[in-house]
């Protein structure tokens, strides 16, 4: 498998505060990779760096043969990386369909809007019924569908998902992970960041464990599940 995304010794931070130290990570085509860790481990910062919302202090970010370190967010999207941000970050006062339209904002995606929207509605039939409703009035699970649908509108090569289960009821969390499995089954390459270690390890191929801004452990999901350190500190076994 070819490597789609490769991070090499990436460091980043906010002001005088450093949040990531020499993080190296790769995602191969077709893989679902998880980044897990506790609050404040630097997971969200990592995604913000990849998606161009925060320029890295140092290090390389290569995606599909292109260097993306320090590229503005809209260029990262154009390169084929879509971001489902933490807490969904929908446009609450736009309708479901307008949110999808925003996902297809790039000129190339705009032309294919009707076709892509039909495909997203096929994936999430519930959204079709609510397409004229304001996104802010949907339930948490539905909002997550809109957020994922919005990201899929560009037909990305890589989908970044930031804490898709954050702030949702346990039942809805189950639904969200079912969504992740479906996205995976559709053949998308996914980089998933989560606090919910147990559930993530059930849906990903490989994972990286972040602790205070550094990669502490990396390996296949099965290997991590059996790792004594992970079992003790994160799985509560």
């Amino acid at each position: 498998m070819t490597i789609l995304l490769n991070l090499e010794r990436v460091s980043a931070g906010y002001g005088s505060f450093a949040a990531l130290f020499n993080v190296s990570l790769d995602v191969k085509n077709g893989e679902t990779v998880g980044v897990v860790g506790a609050n404040g481990a630097g997971k969200t910062t990592l995604l913000r760096v990849i998606s161009g919302l925060l320029p890295p202090r140092s290090g390389r970010i290569d995606f599909d043969g292109e260097s993306l370190a320090g590229a503005p967010a809209y260029r990262v999207v154009a390169a084929g990386i879509a971001h489902v941000p933490e807490n969904r970050r929908l446009f609450p006062r736009l309708t479901v369909e307008e949110n999808l339209r925003m996902g297809a904002y790039l000129p190339a995606a705009r032309k294919a809007f009707a076709e892509r929207a039909a495909w997203v509605y096929e994936l999430f039939p519930q959204l079709q019924a609510r397409r004229r409703q304001l996104a802010g009035t949907l339930s948490g699970g539905e909002q997550q569908m809109v957020a994922i649908g919005r990201a899929l509108m560009t037909k990305p090569k890589l989908l970044l998902m930031d804490e898709p289960s954050a702030g949702l009821a346990p039942l809805v969390v189950e639904q969200v992970f079912a969504l992740v499995r479906r996205i995976r089954a559709e053949g998308f390459t996914v980089l998933l960041v989560e606090q919910n270690v147990r559930q993530v390890l059930d849906v990903v191929d490989r994972a990286y464990l972040l602790e205070t801004g550094r990669v502490k452990l990396a390996g296949t999901a099965t290997a991590l599940k059996q790792n004594p350190f992970v079992q003790q500190s994160y799985l509560g076994l």
């Binding site: 967010a73 941000p85 970050r89 446009f91 736009l94 925003m102 904002y105 519930q126 339930s139 039942l171």
Partner: protein
């Protein structure tokens, strides 16, 4: 949306009639009509930014550039306003971009953005005052008069000037329509709601903000130029004072900044109100007119944040939309 179309027809016909009426009325009404048309353009230009939460408290800066540049060119070099006005618009746009670029880059939004624009208005005001030798300072200046001349855009005939002002006002509405219909509306609305999320969706936030800033500042400069050409007198306070910048904000909000015709209604309302109060009180109770005007504005902003047009839309929409049937519980 059938309701929307009916509402629009209801609005457009009287509006077209109202726009044409001054041609047949006395000088006094033509004078009011010219003012309403010019200020409608300025308020529309302001609302193009304001509706996307880019609240500018310094549009007087662009008004000032629009007023002074063509007059200075005319008085000193004999350049026709037909060239001077586009040049002034270009300069206002340049000024807006010089301030807008770093503000957008540094993500200066909300109150801080408003403060930056407030400062910009003050800077332009002070520059005009300080360049006393050229601009006449606080005393103001007048364009060299040549009598009736299209070349100099000096049209003592009010009907003719009203025609010019109408065209400019329509240009503002065309710009509004272009924004309303285009992807830029969605882009800017999403930026107003969540800048990071908009950026993640692929919106070049900086570019979209600068685009609307350019359109808004350019049209405001056009309004300023026409106002100066019409009054044939310009002073820093009347063009770039804080009072003017705030008047723009209040009137656009009072009319309704989310609707194409809102700022126009706002202009008509505020100008007719000022005039009505002035006639009513005359020279008695000095200050009463202004006090009532101010009080009304406060009441408007508190109770009608979407302005007169917003209120009208709500009233018109009410009987047309039947109460929504009880929504089925979302299947969880």
């Amino acid at each position: 949306m059938r309701g929307g179309r009916d509402t629009r027809l209801l609005l457009y016909l009287p509006l077209a009639a109202a726009a044409a009426a001054p041609f047949f009325l006395s000088d006094y009404f033509q004078h009011m009509a010219v003012q309403i048309a010019i200020w409608s353009l300025v308020y529309t230009a302001w609302a193009l930014m304001g509706r996307f939460r880019l609240t500018s408290l310094g549009h007087g800066a662009f008004l000032g550039v629009g007023a002074y540049v063509p007059t200075l060119l005319w008085n000193n070099y004999g350049v026709t306003p037909w060239l001077g006005i586009p040049l002034a618009m270009a300069l206002a746009i340049a000024l807006a971009l010089i301030v807008g670029y770093p503000s957008s880059r540094q993500k200066v939004v909300g109150h801080y953005f408003a403060l930056v624009t407030l400062a910009l208005g003050q800077v332009v005001l002070l520059v005009i005052v300080a360049m006393r030798d050229v601009t006449g300072g606080s005393l103001g200046m007048t364009p060299h008069t040549v009598g009736h001349s299209w070349y100099a855009l000096q049209l003592p005939n009010k009907a003719e000037f009203y025609a010019v002002a109408l065209v400019a006002w329509l240009a503002g509405l065309v710009a509004w329509r272009y924004v309303e219909r285009g992807m830029i509306r969605l882009a800017l609305e999403s930026i107003a709601e969540d800048e990071d999320a908009a950026e993640s969706a692929g919106v070049d936030v900086l570019r979209e903000k600068l685009k609307i800033t350019a359109v808004s500042s350019g049209l405001t400069a056009l309004g300023g130029a026409l106002y100066a050409q019409y009054l044939m007198y310009l002073s820093p306070d009347a063009m770039s004072g804080v009072g003017i910048s705030l008047q723009i904000v209040f009137a656009a909000i009072a009319g309704g900044m989310y609707n194409m015709l809102g700022p126009t209604i706002g202009a008509a309302f505020t100008i007719l109100l000022t005039e009505g109060l002035r006639v009513l009180f005359g020279t008695h109770f000095v200050g009463a007119a202004n006090t009532i005007y101010g009080a009304l504005l406060v009441i408007f902003i508190i109770f009608m944040p979407r302005g007169i047009v917003g209120l009208a839309e709500r009233i018109l929409a009410r009987p047309r939309v039947p109460p929504a049937p009880a929504a089925p519980e979302p299947a969880e």
